[in-house]
């Protein structure tokens, strides 16, 4: 069971990141995954990131401040 969280206040880059994550999950054929968008700034700050979008996998910040690529995400998710 993997828990993916996308931190971002709803900007275009954050939406792009979400679709990248969805694509990576789909291409890997992962089923036991939850994807959650965290848009509340107070919750985002709990992760201590200061540049969004950020991708959190199982509680670890894997990517911050940029839109990741699908191959990169696939590697992180495997």
């Amino acid at each position: 069971m993997k828990e993916i969280k996308i931190l971002g206040t709803g900007c275009p880059k954050c939406k792009q990141t979400t679709s990248m994550v969805e694509k990576a999950v789909e291409e890997l054929g992962l089923t036991n995954v939850t994807i959650e968008k965290v848009e509340d700034i107070m919750k985002i700050m709990e992760y201590n990131v200061i540049s969004t979008p950020a991708v959190v996998i199982d509680g670890d910040i894997k990517i911050k401040g940029r839109v990741p690529s699908v191959p990169e995400l696939k590697e992180l998710l495997q």
Partner: protein, 325 residues
């Protein structure tokens, strides 16, 4: 350096399209091809270079540096300088603001960073070199840094902590010097490159449509508006030109990359450079969407003071530019 681009544009327009040199359409097209190619190349170079700098010096490092070191009054200058090399997306402004405040960085210093970062960014620099040349770009960058610093210092005098939203005040009360070490990323350059590259393409993809449209409009104006056309309306003697240009510019936003090429043509047709620069700073530096985002952390009054002070500083630098040139 760009002679070959001009030769290419000449070849394309005069020989391939068979247009006659000196005609309106020919000149407009020539300008369009020359400017588009030159500017896209420069944008690519500057964004790539900034991407490398940023990969080794991300915003977290900036925050930790400002938070930990005693800077004896230079912190405003440092924050403003960091703003130049750190790319900034207005959607990051809130987390960034909180992150800085939580690290114990004074509000004025945080503002200095928040002002310079969008004002002097990689896209603006690339466009500026292409449109106005290196000298004007350097002057723009330096005045952007001074502007951020000055506005930050002025804002620090207002005791603005009163006007933060309650939950931010709470964050402020619990502020502590960041103790966690920045995870020293030992990633070799070879592995950083694909990430930098992807980011470069991403930024370029976002601005290219605006730049092309801006240059196309600029090209049309270039070919059809007579030289010195605007001088009669917006000359240096008109004391209201700078404030009007600035106030018009503040609400505008994402089309900054489209507005710069147009502004360049306006300057070539007689609008004073200082007036144009004030306008561009207003477009690039402040925007309504940014104000909406900041509402989460600041009261309307504080946003008003923030925008007011920055607008004033922009107007002053517009006048100063007009005096220099």
């Amino acid at each position: 350096m760009f002679d070959w681009v001009q030769q290419f544009a000449d070849w394309l327009v005069y020989e391939q399209f068979g247009l006659v040199k000196g005609e309106h359409l020919a000149e407009a097209l020539n300008f369009f091809f020359y400017d588009s190619i030159k500017i896209l190349l420069l944008l690519f170079i500057v964004i790539f270079f900034m991407g490398i700098v940023n990969s080794y010096f991300p915003v977290e490092k900036v925050r930790n540096f400002l938070s930990r070191n005693k800077l004896y009054g230079t912190e405003y200058l440092m924050a403003s300088l960091f703003g130049v090399v750190t790319p900034f997306c207005s959607c990051s402004s809130v987390p960034l603001f909180i992150g800085f405040v939580r690290g114990g960085i004074p509000l004025g210093v945080t503002f200095a960073f928040l002002i310079t970062s969008p004002l002097v960014n990689e896209v603006a620099i690339g466009l500026f070199i292409g449109l106005f040349g290196l000298k004007t770009t350097i002057i723009y960058v330096i005045s952007g840094v001074i502007l951020g610093m000055t506005a930050g210092i002025i804002l620090s005098k207002f005791r603005l902590e009163r006007f933060l939203t309650p939950w931010v005040k709470e964050v402020l009360a619990n502020a502590q010097k960041e103790s966690e070490a920045f995870e020293a990323e030992q990633t070799p350059f070879r592995q950083r490159l694909p990430i930098i590259w992807a980011e470069v393409l991403n930024i370029l993809r976002g601005v290219i449509p605006y730049v092309i449209v801006g240059i196309a409009i600029g090209g049309l104006m270039h070919g059809y508006i007579p030289e010195g056309f605007f001088e009669q309306y917006m000359n240096k003697e008109n004391p209201f030109a700078v404030p009007i240009a600035t106030i018009l510019a503040v609400p505008m936003y994402s089309n900054a990359s489209g507005i710069l090429p147009v502004a360049q043509v306006l300057v070539s047709k007689g609008i004073p450079l200082g007036t144009a620069i004030a306008f561009m700073m207003g477009v690039v530096g402040l925007s309504i969407p940014e104000a909406m985002l900041l509402k989460k952390v600041m009261s309307l009054k504080l946003i008003g003071i923030f925008f007011g002070v920055v607008t004033l500083c922009i107007i002053v630098s517009g006048y100063v530019f007009n005096m220099i040139f």
